[in-house]
Subunit: 341 residues, 2 copies
């Protein structure tokens, strides 16, 4: 009874309570809980397990972390997990992490450099075993003055990041696949580009891919509308393109979100997609499949990237690497495929 009460009163049960209850030392409890490193007689082990059960003992992960020097937790810093692409990415990462016995601590930088700093700092203070992140900074190393002493992997890096491990999708290739498809299969010769603002000195690789593919095909470059990688940005970009003297025959949007915005602008103008104008986009989130019409996309290999990111974090390797994953072309209806002639 007094046990009952004590537990109700929220006295956390510790290993020494268990030891006392089972009539053994705390070391033995440890051996049982961790299944080593010393052997324990079966009968003793059973007594300990019963005590654990009865007392409702649960090892304190933090204390163990302090002693062992590893926290079994990793940090994930995203700009904004309500962006569907990152949400899908996060699910994959969390799944892999959990299978790996790692908990995931999440932070949203919301595009604010200062907040990003705070989050990194907090995570390092928690001695996470690793840090996965996308950075607000286009180029500068956001961690420079934070001197992280744990592995860091930049998980949405189009370009190599000096001195860091990084990975991302091959944006140039994805863009090229999409544009090539519009040219080869749908004979579009005027293909517009919707892309983000050029914050970075380096151009968006999707812009490269679009440009090179058009040039290689001997086609003129279509109009470019630059705006945020959001639905709102795409909407504004779409309106911009619609205000042009001559409507392009197709639009390549650099993110699903932008494409969704573009579609809205086109619909509001009473345009039919793909018959009046084709639209394709980059990312391949679930949302793209349920847009109207369903979007033909270059789908990023989110699961593969998540697994690779966790691996880069855990396994030894060069301090600077950059892995690029090829996106997959997913044909749906917005490009003109599967349409009645």
């Amino acid at each position: 009874m007094s046990n009952q009460v004590a537990r109700e009163v929220k006295s956390a049960v510790t290993r020494s309570d268990v030891a006392r209850h089972a009539g053994v030392s705390t070391a033995v409890v440890s051996y049982v809980v961790n299944n080593g490193p010393r052997p324990v007689a079966p009968s003793t082990a059973t007594r300990v397990r019963n005590a654990i059960q009865e007392l409702g003992y649960r090892p304190n992960t933090g204390a163990r972390a302090l002693r062992r020097g590893v926290s079994d937790a990793i940090g994930l810093i995203l700009v904004d997990i309500s962006n569907p692409f990152f949400a899908e990415y996060a699910v994959e990462i969390e799944t892999v992490a959990h299978q790996d016995g790692q908990a995931l601590i999440l932070g949203n930088s919301l595009g604010q450099a200062e907040l990003e700093r705070e989050l990194v700092d907090d995570l390092l203070g928690r001695r996470v075993d690793g840090l996965l992140m996308t950075s607000v900074y286009a180029d500068a190393d956001p961690l420079a003055d934070l001197r992280p002493d744990v592995p860091v992997v930049m998980i949405d890096a189009a370009h190599p990041v000096p001195g860091r491990r990084s990975l991302g999708s091959d944006h140039a290739q994805g863009a090229a696949m999409l544009v090539q498809h519009l040219i080869d299969v749908h004979q579009r010769s005027s293909i517009a580009l919707v892309v983000g603002h050029g914050q970075s000195p380096k151009p968006d690789r999707r812009e490269d891919g679009w440009k090179r593919t058009l040039m290689a095909a001997g086609l003129p470059l279509g109009p470019i509308a630059r705006n945020a990688y959001t639905r709102e940005g795409g909407y504004a970009a779409g309106q911009e393109l619609l205000a042009l003297d001559q409507l392009p025959q197709a639009i390549f949007a650099s993110s699903d979100q932008q494409a969704i915005g573009v579609l809205r602008a086109l619909h509001e103008h009473g345009l039919e997609v793909p018959s009046d104008i084709a639209v394709v986009s980059y990312d391949g989130t679930a949302e793209s499949e349920f847009a109207w019409p369903p979007l033909t996309v270059a789908r990023q290999q989110v699961a593969a990237m998540a697994a690779a990111a966790m691996k880069m974090l855990t396994e030894p390797g060069p301090d600077e690497v950059h892995r690029l994953f090829p996106p997959e072309l997913v044909i749906r209806r917005s490009c003109g495929c599967g349409q009645p002639r």
Copy 2:
């Protein structure tokens, strides 16, 4: 130099390194870092701060947690953060938590009871200061045998949860607002319902709201299509309704995701929304605004719920409470408003 090397070598700098470097005791370092509880002479404090700076010292959050008995971390268990509603919810929660000095540990149960259990267990082992969760279980208390010794708040609860604190949106009211609008403003007299499978003995409160509003208006109940609360579920439900002898004049979908699926089914059938059939839905995620046509919705007050959830976790209060937040009616085009006659 040797300092340099030592740091490179990844020897974590501890409070006693700082103390030695500054020529003070570890207690003083603590007083400076925590700004108390004892006063420190300004000149001493400066010396300590310089040492901290030079050595790149960062307090070990885990050690502090062990000593103080609070972890400054909370757990969040969602079914799936790639569901946009939960993603938006999570952003709000993380933001509030961060402002509150709490880190957020995220877990996705993916609809698997066993996984949910594992996540809860892990989080309790980490001694989170509180647990925010949605449960896979419709009714049974998923925590019963886990004896959580921290505050738990069920954050997406349509009904009170026995013995627990919980909160959610007033689904019945939201449904009623939407249906009433379709009746009063758009004179729709045949309104279908798309809702989830009845896993729970308790009916979905949105079904209640829909039913009562129709009955109060003296209208017949429209057809019901039951399917998952996903885009796919909505798509299947939409097809089901389209196969009926008589098409309803409007559809109320219980989630944005379902509405998106319904819209796809309608579009594929060549139906115009809202002129051929109106569609409204529940949730009000960002996606709903960019659907085609933009969806009229009952928007859940995500930010308010997130703040309230954190408050319920932190502040003392009754062990069992259930707070319901009224959704807001957001009129867009899918109901027929703003359409040319």
